[in-house]
Symmetry: C2
Subunit: 145 residues, 2 copies
């Protein structure tokens, strides 16, 4: 079922001059099955059992390739490391400031914000990003002792 998206990704890679390697396949598979938004190090640690000699550079190299063909999106939150999302459809994230949990959040609008910004600043607007911060239900409950 979820392998459908993975298969599509593999096909789209094959259609370019990107070679398939066991490491590359494993990284892609891990990303497409991930329910979270893993860091490069998460991926590296998750696969070190299967590929004891894999270099951390391989993880970064592949993430760059996947980004370039549009298969994954990089989420850059100020502190610490980038996170990667194999869901490239338009969606936002709600982030818990206490435990770091990241939840997908769909919202329709915000096109008008881009339009207004374009008018006011004379920029040629291409995209925007938005995140919502707060406390997840679990962390919020804990804080009410």
């Amino acid at each position: 079922m979820e392998n459908h998206r993975l298969q599509e990704a593999l096909d789209s890679l094959k259609s370019t001059k990107v070679r398939m390697t066991p490491q590359r396949h494993a990284i892609l598979e891990f990303l497409f099955n991930a329910k979270t938004h893993p860091t490069a190090d998460d991926i590296y640690k998750a696969l070190e059992g299967k590929f004891p000699n894999m270099s951390v550079a391989t993880v970064y190299n592949n993430l760059r390739v996947f980004k370039e063909v549009g298969l994954v999106r990089e989420l850059t939150y100020g502190d610490s490391s980038s996170r990667f999302d194999s869901n490239t459809s338009d969606h936002y994230h709600v982030i818990c400031e206490d435990c770091g949990k990241i939840v997908d959040f769909h919202y329709p609008g915000l096109d008008e914000v881009e339009t207004l910004a374009e008018h006011v600043t004379n920029f040629k607007v291409k995209e925007h990003r938005m995140e919502i911060y707060g406390a997840c239900p679990e962390c919020h409950k804990l804080k009410q002792h």
Copy 2:
């Protein structure tokens, strides 16, 4: 005229147990007069004429103090270094992806986005961030050769 905001900031620091030092004063003054959104290194370089022996750690230490009392805001853009904004009133930023220029942008709404996110995710929402990306007028003109 702009010294009014600076004076308020100095007073608010004095009202706590934060001591005033020449370095601290200079960093704060630079931030409050800055029209751009400088990085820690920008500040460090701008003041090295006046304080040849100032440590880069002093810049970071003070920025942390200023953040803690709410005098400045840290802007974390994925790649490279954080930027700092002495304008802590609610506003957004429009960023040029070519030259890095950052322009302030005021927009009223987005409270409903927080409300909806709260309902959908059961998070206790505290804040949100949004930036708009594109090409500034100058860079856009250049690309049309």
